[in-house]
């Protein structure tokens, strides 16, 4: 039988709707792939076999009865383990939260994906409490990059990146507070969508930084991102920042091509502190999209610093009691950051939030001159799993807080971003951020889809 684990979700769904393959067969192939590769990749922490096969059988039965199947019929999906999955403990990458009772119901986005026909295969490894850019986890083992298992996936949605790149799921959901969808998408050579802040409901997920948390899909094609986004968008009174949910559907807008799109590059801050491969990838995409000139996000270095400050203080506030009572049960790499954050004064937090408003006002002015802005997604391709430092512009810096230097200023003000994977002639992939104005996900997806249709970007199945 054809290997469906390398196919994009939209093809899988089309084949199931047409009766070329059953949803059960697709689910069983993916479950077999998980059984074979997960010990190495450390992508899944929970596998929901019974649930997946029951859903697949229901879809096959519905088709046999002549019912029309929905857009993601039979598409194997999985979610970062900070999403509530009914019957599973929401571990959020931690040891401590394993003491919680199992979730009584699914997160909103899982309910919506399943309503569109998706088949949930399980929950995915992540950096503890999402305070991470590497995909390392002391409790569940480090996520490993399917394209080179000596290298990291990036994080914190490490399992979400590894599962898609490794053919264990067609679409995964991750969270992105400072870059945790875009960093693994970049390092794993796949597509990722971080929607506008407030664009997708966060209800039923374990939080990290309420001011900055986003959720979104990772996939092996742009159309898959669009289908998943449309299946999940819409108001949710259970998430205060998504209560009005006015997002427009994006799938009808993905295909028209580049006509009328104004594209430019992010200058200044986004042209320093990276390896040549990061900037070469932006050059390639800029040439392909006919990008003109550059714009500068004003004070982007301070935006990154302010996002860093808000993250330290809000994150430490969330975990303060656990730090006091169970410090030994944290991943050491996370614990020491949280202890430090718990020592910072409130004044610094308020100033960072005031700066955030200023930066947003200035950054939004850029979109009077352009529709899309290009920037590197990560300063390098995937570092080695145990690599602690790297050298950027001659400075030796720790990997963990610095893999997100190009993503952090953008999520800081909630702009939507599609990350597209660029493959050099040799070596590992690296991503480019296509950044749009708030609510303009469709424009970034349109450009990404055109690049994919021209073969300039693609998600290569891992061997």
């Amino acid at each position: 039988m054809k290997d469906w684990t390398a196919e994009p979700a939209f093809r899988i769904a089309a084949a199931i709707r047409a009766g070329e393959v059953s949803a059960r067969a697709v689910a069983e192939q993916h479950l077999a792939a998980i059984a074979q590769r997960n010990d190495t990749l450390r992508a899944f922490t929970d596998i929901t076999t019974e649930r997946a096969l029951a859903k697949a059988d229901a879809l096959d039965a519905a088709r046999t009865q002549g019912q029309a199947l929905p857009s993601l019929a039979g598409v194997p999906v999985a979610v970062k383990n900070l999403f509530d999955v009914a019957g599973l403990v929401t571990r959020a990458g931690s040891k401590i939260n394993r003491d919680h009772a199992p979730a009584s119901q699914d997160a909103t986005l899982i309910t919506r994906l399943e309503a569109a026909g998706a088949v949930l295969l399980g929950a995915l490894n992540m950096g503890e409490y999402a305070y991470d850019f590497t995909g390392r986890n002391a409790h569940d083992g480090h996520s490993r990059n399917p394209h080179d298992t000596a290298r990291m996936t990036g994080g914190s949605s490490g399992g979400s990146g590894g599962a898609v790149a490794g053919g264990l799921a067609a679409i995964t959901l991750g969270s992105d507070t400072n870059g945790s969808i875009r960093v693994p998408a970049s390092l794993c050579g796949i597509f990722g969508l971080k929607p506008s802040y407030g664009g997708l409901s966060r209800a039923g997920t374990f939080p990290f930084i309420a001011s900055l948390d986003h959720l979104g899909p990772l996939a092996r094609s742009v159309m898959d991102l669009a289908l998943a986004y449309d299946a999940m968008r819409g108001a949710d009174p259970l998430d205060p920042v998504c209560a009005r949910g006015t997002a427009e559907p994006v799938t009808p807008s993905v295909e028209p091509g580049l006509k009328g799109l104004r594209v430019t590059r992010a200058g200044g801050y986004f042209t320093r502190m990276g390896e040549a491969e990061a900037f070469a990838a932006v050059d390639l995409i800029a040439r392909a999209l006919g990008a003109k000139g550059s714009v500068e996000f004003p004070e982007a270095h301070r935006a990154r610093a302010a996002a860093f400050t808000i993250t330290m203080i809000e994150g430490s506030s969330l975990h303060r009691d656990r730090i006091r009572t169970r410090p030994q049960d944290f991943d050491p790499e996370v614990r020491d950051r949280l202890i430090a954050g718990a020592m910072l004064p409130a004044d610094w937090y308020v100033k960072a939030q005031k700066f955030r408003r200023w930066f947003q006002t200035e950054a939004l002015k850029l979109f009077t001159q352009t529709d899309l802005i290009l920037a590197p997604a990560t300063p390098t391709s995937a570092p080695l799993v145990d690599q602690q430092d790297f050298v950027l512009d001659g400075q030796t810096l720790p990997v963990r807080p610095n893999l997100g230097i190009f993503t952090q200023p953008i999520s800081f003000i909630g702009l939507p971003v599609v990350t597209v994977p660029v493959w050099p002639e040799q070596g590992m992939p690296i991503g480019v951020q296509i950044i749009a104005a708030p609510g303009k996900e469709a424009l970034a997806l349109r450009a990404a889809h055109w690049l994919e249709s021209q073969g300039i970007v693609h998600a290569k199945p891992a061997k």
Binding site: D336, R337, M343, W348, R357
Partner: protein, 68 residues
Amino acid sequence: MNDASGLDAKAYAASMAQALGLPLTPEYAPQVEANLALAFRLVQLVLDFPLPDEAEPAPVFSAEGHGA
């Protein structure tokens, strides 16, 4: 406290851990201090940027509530 970069991470960590009841064992201290030193450097970039007293912070709040 407008001079973050001048703070001594080691002394700061010791005094804040004691005042706030935070764990700072010999095992934790080096990385806590390293994280503080990084935070001080970055926070200084925020503190150095002049903003008027009227500057509004970013968080969203609605007096009507959000589900309305």
